[in-house]
Symmetry: C2
Subunit: 479 residues, 2 copies
């Protein structure tokens, strides 16, 4: 039985086939099930618990910075979507259209929201009248739909869950500050909660969001060297304001347009957690986001006193605020080890008759299977300490991976060579022209990731055209 189960749960080694390894984890850790609508997935309880933890942490950060949650409709009338030219061009080709309500054909078809800028704009145009009404700092948690051709669980699906913040401000300065504030919140969340190091930067014009003046991004590196765009924050200027007539009376009683932002983070971060921290045994979850931080596995549980002691320890650690599970099921200890390793539980506590005799138990960490023997009386102090240690070392390991897979290049040939030979990102200078950006993509297969805030001087000139370089850009293949 134990062996059967083990077999069922075996996953493809990462080095053999990274894509299959990912799909195996997603299915076998019971994160996702496929639905009968192609490209639409079911988030199973364990995935949803991770998403709830993400929501709770981010939502608190949003509220602390003055944001309020709202709920906008699911549907956008076609005419509303079309109000801002760049925006509709970006999204119209990939939306789902509702044409009938009940048995009746609708007079105007409705798209299922791919993002809600247009809905927020319409609402703000109605409710913002005076400078006293500004800023409006709204956010919503919902799912959105984009009719993608190729889909992968968490990373790209036809329906995905996210939050989308939409704010309007009296001045450009305020709106720009908001855009950056939210990017830094995402970056801090990624690094300090998800233990995923990120590069913060600005997207090139080519890569920015449909309708935005500027798009800021945090870019993470997955275990295979590919990038995952993990959160974006957009500054719109007054483009939408003009298209939607979002005007207010300023302090001098003159009409002025609002300045606008939007920002979003989605369930794709769960894919990012898997591909940043996972290994051949399954997921590895950072303790700060893990639905179960500690699993207690009783050894020789049938022997007198073992379960009692395990329950006693569970109660004690729950009081310390540890999210834990005591697995007293009939499965073998070996099966349980594999199961919770697959699910990425950061810390395992083993306790058996001998341990009880010695007044101790064994703690095993998930990332390295490092064992620590701990006296039972010291658990309350030691478990939080070990969880912190795991959190820190997961970040350091991911940071090392990122740092050791970014390469500098001075010529297009060097860029090509790196793109072909080594997974990872390439840093190079750029003159700022679309032509050179397209040339790099064409020649190396790598689109630009971003113009990092932390600039370095690699060379004086653009490696494509030889003209004066304006920025250092990070390039890389992305999910």
């Amino acid at each position: 039985m134990a062996n059967d189960r083990k077999l069922v749960r075996e996953i493809t080694p990462m080095d053999e086939d990274f894509a299959q390894w990912y799909t195996d984890i997603v299915k076998k850790a019971e994160l996702i099930d496929y639905s009968s609508v192609r490209g639409c997935v079911i988030m199973r309880p364990y995935a949803y618990a991770i998403w709830e933890a993400i929501q709770k942490n981010l939502d608190q950060r949003f509220k602390e910075t003055g944001h309020e949650n709202v709920a906008m409709p699911l549907f956008i009338p076609e005419s509303l979507l079309q109000k801002e030219k760049d925006h509709v061009e970006g999204f119209a080709p990939e939306v789902a259209w509702v044409t009938h309500g009940g048995n009746e054909k609708l007079e105007e078809r409705l798209c299922v929201r791919p993002t809600s800028e247009t809905l927020f704009c319409e609402h703000y145009a109605k409710i913002v009248k005076s400078w006293r009404d500004l800023p409006k700092l709204y956010n919503q948690w919902c799912s959105v739909v984009r009719w993608e051709k190729t889909t992968r669980p968490f990373l790209r699906s036809r329906e995905f869950w996210w939050q989308e913040g939409h704010t309007v401000h009296a001045t450009e300065e305020e709106a720009r500050a908001e855009t950056l504030q939210m990017l830094h919140i995402y970056a801090d969340f990624a690094e300090n909660v998800l233990a995923i190091p990120v590069i913060r930067g600005r997207k090139t014009d080519k890569e920015k969001f449909a309708g935005a003046l500027e798009t800021y991004t945090i870019e993470a590196m997955m275990h295979d060297g590919k990038a995952l765009q993990s959160g974006t924050s957009h500054y719109f200027g007054d483009g939408f304001a003009k298209a939607f007539n979002m005007q207010y009376s300023d302090k001098n009683n003159k009409l002025a347009y609002v300045h606008q932002t939007s920002w979003g983070m989605s369930t794709r971060t769960i894919g990012g957690i898997i591909m940043t921290h996972g290994d051949d045994e399954g997921m590895v979850l950072p303790p700060r986001i893990a639905p179960i931080q500690l699993v207690i596995v009783p050894i020789a549980a049938h022997k007198g006193g073992v379960l009692e002691k395990a329950s006693e320890i569970a109660e004690m650690l729950k009081k310390e605020g540890i999210r834990l599970k005591l697995d007293a099921s009939e499965q073998s200890a070996g099966w349980k080890f594999a199961e919770y390793e697959m699910k990425g539980v950061p810390l395992r506590l083993e306790i058996g008759p001998k341990d009880i005799e010695n007044g101790q138990c064994v703690l095993v960490d998930r990332p390295d299977r490092e064992k620590t023997v701990v006296p039972i009386g010291e658990l309350s102090a030691k478990v939080p300490e070990l969880l912190q240690k795991i959190q820190d070392k997961m970040f350091r390991k991911a940071k090392d991976n990122l740092d050791s897979h970014i390469y500098k290049a001075k010529t297009l040939d060097e860029m090509k060579e790196l793109a072909l030979s080594r997974p990872g990102f390439v840093k190079a200078m750029w003159c700022g022209s679309l032509a050179c950006e397209l040339a790099v993509k064409e020649e190396t297969g790598m689109p630009s990731r971003c113009i990092p805030f932390e600039q370095e001087h690699i060379d004086d000139v653009c490696p494509v055209c030889g003209q004066k370089a304006k920025h250092m850009v990070v390039w890389g293949i992305a999910y």
Copy 2:
């Protein structure tokens, strides 16, 4: 300015036009804005904050009883919706249909979920194999779409937000126990958190959910005597199990069908709060669900020391866990009084220079404007005590309203007379036949609300046909 604002906020008196009173509150307390899709609304920050408080409380109850959250897709393929005959008949006429994805016509059209039984069934059929996999106790928080002809904010809209629980069990007994457990959780939540007294009972066959064997309900009475169905819990038997082939191997290794339930509570409860507790000044929110439990209004705030003292009190009460707002804006005290009365904030704290001299402040409760002068040093104890008192008296008042508007009738003429002359519910006996139920509805305009768990003996016979009575039924016009 203050007067202008006041005028804008005036609402139609309840006795003059209850429907208009309701609509005025919904708009002027800034709960809802209309979107450009008819029947689809925007939940504004204050409404959403109430919904978040409802979610938090219910979600905790669900988790304490072993339920797990998931996220199902938004779309149901037409063929999947059609698998259970009664279910599709109930819902197909009122769903929104997606026919195109991007520029392509879909091979099969998809409906936007009106409820998700079919999706859960399809998933359970895949993941439930053995008795070890049972029960599955899932819930999801989402919005659903029903293409209603006539809509009213919160009460009936084309899109609304809710939770839907869907569970499968090994035995009928377990599933029936779950159905009732969830109904009682709803009832307890309504009474003890929302301060809305409810009648618990079972729906007649005519009124039950499409596809259910039994539907249980909690029915509340609004201020105008009409009913609001406030939460339902359904027992499905193995009807869907057979349609979707949800079978598992039991302990004897034989295939058996699962037994199933579903249960839901929605944003219409916000409408219920308004129509149960509201008055001519606006909403009255029960303290346990109020996003703001206490508003602090400084009097003569420009005078030295007033704002400082108000802030000091705010900090002190926040530490006690009171959800409060200190409104230090430039609006007049009178404007603020009206504003927070409109928004139903249960308790107001007024503090001015004289109060500070006397080391006290004035607390005013929202339901009766009862004033209590409280020494500042006693606020930490007194505020929670007053909030509790408000919670209790709101429930008692609503309970008195319910009790005094339920009338007993022995004949159809009495029922008609009551329906015509007095707003409220009518209790009468019933033989159990559909013909008599239809006759009552036809003659009195009242559909059956439910067969209450607490039965009374009013008569021996059915008032319509004179045959032996089986049940006492509560009848009433509903939202």
